[in-house]
């Protein structure tokens, strides 16, 4: 029964990790930009949801619908006003975008510190559990994971079935090709960064009902998102779903059988192993 419990915990955690990584994956897929401010966006949004709940009594899931569009706008502005100005291509361009998003992460973290203080905050919402025999399913984790999976499926459906989604995929496959077919690639990049930021915000809104958040742990979530994305293969959305489930499972089982001290190191161990053994991800390399 313990194995069933650990598997359920791992899969639910994986569902949440999937959403956590989707935004980073989308931005990388379209622009080859690794957004190191991803975790800062996520935590900032989570804390904003806390404030909306604490000050105005807004349900966290409703607050998510307010915060995610706000972060869409912020993300779109970052792309339009900052990243678009980097004209260098190749390695130099990649390095400059990394440095820019790294600096951005510091700015967002410090704004969060000023706005919310340096303390762990969480929302007391859905704090009970569903019990089936000796297995317990955490309500907040269940709801968060369900919403995360629905959002991820919705994203996938939009990318594959709608004209705008297809234009985005075309941009990710070949900027020049998309441009020659009349796609406004600059608009697509702004759209991608906006959606990626909104997804990070949605993940933050769901996370803060599951665990306490503090602006200074933003870097941890950037790393977690990167591990999930790297597991599945950068730019590969189906692979990221696998990555989320694997990381959730590894943490759940590892925490139980090896202890919490080892559990904390597992994402980093997984990341090192991917870097060494399969830097292209677990699935055969595929474009978006």
């Amino acid at each position: 029964m313990i194995v069933v419990q650990l598997t359920i915990n791992g899969l639910l955690l994986g569902g949440l990790y999937l959403l956590l990584a989707q935004g980073m994956n989308l931005i990388f897929g379209v622009m080859r930009v690794l957004n190191l401010a991803h975790g800062a966006f996520l935590v900032g949004a989570g804390l904003l949801v806390f404030r909306l709940h604490d000050a105005y009594g807004i349900n966290p899931l409703v607050a998510m619908l307010i915060v995610a569009p706000a972060f869409f706008a912020i993300g779109a502005l970052v792309q339009r006003l900052l990243l678009e100005r980097i004209k260098a291509g190749g390695l130099e361009g990649e390095l400059l975008t990394l440095m820019l998003t790294y600096g951005l992460s510091y700015i967002v973290v410090n704004i969060s510190l000023k706005a919310f203080g340096a303390q762990y905050l969480s929302i007391p919402y859905l704090q009970s559990a569903i019990r089936i025999g000796s297995v317990t399913i955490d309500e907040s984790l269940l709801v968060s994971a369900a919403v995360a999976i629905v959002l991820s499926i919705g994203l996938q459906a939009w990318l594959t079935s709608t004209p705008s989604g297809k234009r985005l995929r075309a941009t990710s496959q070949s900027q020049i090709g998309a441009l020659s077919c009349g796609v406004d690639t600059r608009r697509m990049r702004v759209l991608a960064f906006g959606i990626g930021s909104a997804l990070a915000a949605a993940a933050g809104a769901l996370l803060i009902i599951v665990r306490p958040l503090d602006p200074q742990i933003s870097g941890d979530f950037t790393i977690l998102a990167f591990v999930v994305v790297a597991l599945g293969g950068l730019g590969d959305y189906v692979g990221a779903a696998m990555g989320g489930a694997i990381l959730g499972g590894v943490e759940s089982f590892g925490g139980y059988y090896l202890g919490a001290n080892v559990q904390a190191a597992l994402p980093y161990i997984v990341m090192l192993l991917i870097m060494l053994l399969r830097p292209q991800g677990l699935r055969p390399s595929e474009a978006l």
Partner: protein, 413 residues
């Protein structure tokens, strides 16, 4: 493929930068810390040419300990503000020189060095947390300067020190009242969650286990986790299968919140559940709502205590900080200055050797109780009290002679 490897290398380097930026003390940290210097108190005495007495400290104004550090700093500031209104020390005003250590032990070391070598402060008081004090206390030891440490409850960090004095109850006594309750109720088993990152929590848990062994209480489980843990599902699942009459958490605030949530989710039903740091904090209630009910926490001070000056301290604090209530860190910060004042009055100078020798012998009544230290500088006077959340209100419940309410057990009813 080569491009992918290049990206991977860049990403790894950047992620490493993010990590080191979060935990490492660097020259950049030091520079930014310098910018945050705060001077509190007059720079010159009204109508007098007397130079102020400078008291230096670093405190966590940012970082994981910022919320608690703020309480301690407010206790320091309140005392200095009152002190200057009644004439200061030795006919001189008192000025605080404060730096933000960013909850970083390495930064705190650099800042205390700066306080002594560049700012030439006359006196020192300690930072918040055992871990940061453990790093910083070597600096006043090197410079032969007295430092009172109201933020460091761990005991082993004082081994061999001559100039530092513990101004808070010892960590190894924090959880002993819980062991006494278990023994009095004839319970058989205890379980322990330990934040393994902090010297304070480790010391508190180890002392509790020693007392449990002495009282023939079986330790059914001990679950250790790093202070950065936020997912407690596997940790609590491991404890659930072991079961225990009484569960204690040697915690800091974030993990205290996470554990309460997970224990309730997984339906653990101990007769008593207590934690060290966390339950007295304001964020405990805002983060957990009604789940706080029944949780017991340790505290070193309480508004209802009838210690000399406590009522006045409470009123002055609320007035100074727009109605905000102090917590025990504020009271201990305030108390540290009461001890310094008693020592200065006795010595009638700022001679560090005389101050050190005097503090070793002092027995001072403060708002937080009696301050006195043993030969190793460890606290021997302050006491631990227990509070409990009942109906979303916090009450002092132990020891019975000062309790506002009777302790409500079992926790899981």
């Amino acid at each position: 493929m080569k491009r992918r490897y290049t990206i991977a290398a860049l990403v790894t380097a950047s992620v490493a930068l993010v990590c080191t930026g979060a935990v490492g003390a660097t020259t950049a940290d030091m520079r930014s810390a310098s910018v945050h210097r705060l001077v509190f108190g007059p720079t010159a005495w009204k109508g007098s040419s007397a130079n102020p007495i400078k008291v230096g400290l670093s405190i966590s104004e940012t970082g994981p300990f910022a919320a608690t550090g703020e309480y301690q700093l407010k206790g320091y500031k309140l005392f200095v503000s009152q002190l200057n209104k009644r004439g200061g020390w030795l006919g001189r005003p008192v000025q605080l020189v404060v730096y933000d250590d960013q909850s970083n032990p390495g930064t705190a070391v650099l800042l205390y060095e700066k306080l002594i070598s560049q700012d030439h402060v006359d006196l020192l008081v300690g930072p918040y947390s055992s871990g940061i004090t453990q790093a910083a206390l070597a600096v006043p030891e090197k410079h032969h300067m007295v430092m009172l440490d109201p933020g460091a409850a761990a005991t082993d960090i004082y081994s061999g020190v001559q100039w530092n004095f513990q101004a808070i109850e010892r960590a190894d006594r924090y959880l002993l009242p819980i062991a006494d309750i278990c023994k009095a109720r004839n319970w058989k088993t205890v379980g322990v969650f330990v934040n393994s990152t902090s010297p304070f929590t480790v010391a508190a848990a180890n002392a509790f286990k020693r007392r449990a062994a002495r009282d023939h209480l079986k330790v059914a489980f001990e679950q250790r986790y790093p202070g950065t843990t936020s997912d407690f599902s596997s940790t609590v699942l491991g404890a659930k299968s072991a079961g225990a009459d009484c569960i204690v958490g040697a915690t800091n605030t974030p993990d205290a919140i996470g554990l309460v949530r997970e224990i309730n989710r997984q339906g653990l039903k101990p007769k008593l559940f207590a934690e060290t740091i966390g339950p007295v904090e304001k964020t405990f209630l805002t983060s957990l709502g009604s789940l706080v009910n029944g949780v017991i926490g340790t505290t070193q001070w309480w508004p209802s205590l009838r210690t000399p000056g406590n009522r006045k301290f409470l009123v002055a604090y609320e007035k100074a900080y727009a109605g905000q209530l102090p917590d025990y860190h504020s009271a201990l910060g305030y108390s540290a200055f009461q001890v310094l004042e008693a020592a200065i009055k006795k010595v009638r100078s700022l001679d560090q050797t005389k101050l050190r020798d005097t503090i070793r012998q002092l027995r001072v009544t403060t708002v937080a109780g009696i301050f006195k230290v043993d030969a190793n500088g460890l606290q021997n006077g302050f006491k631990t009290y227990l509070m409990q959340w009942q109906g979303r209100n916090a009450w002092l419940v132990y020891p019975p002679n000062v309790a506002q309410r009777k302790i409500r057990l079992p926790y899981s009813r």
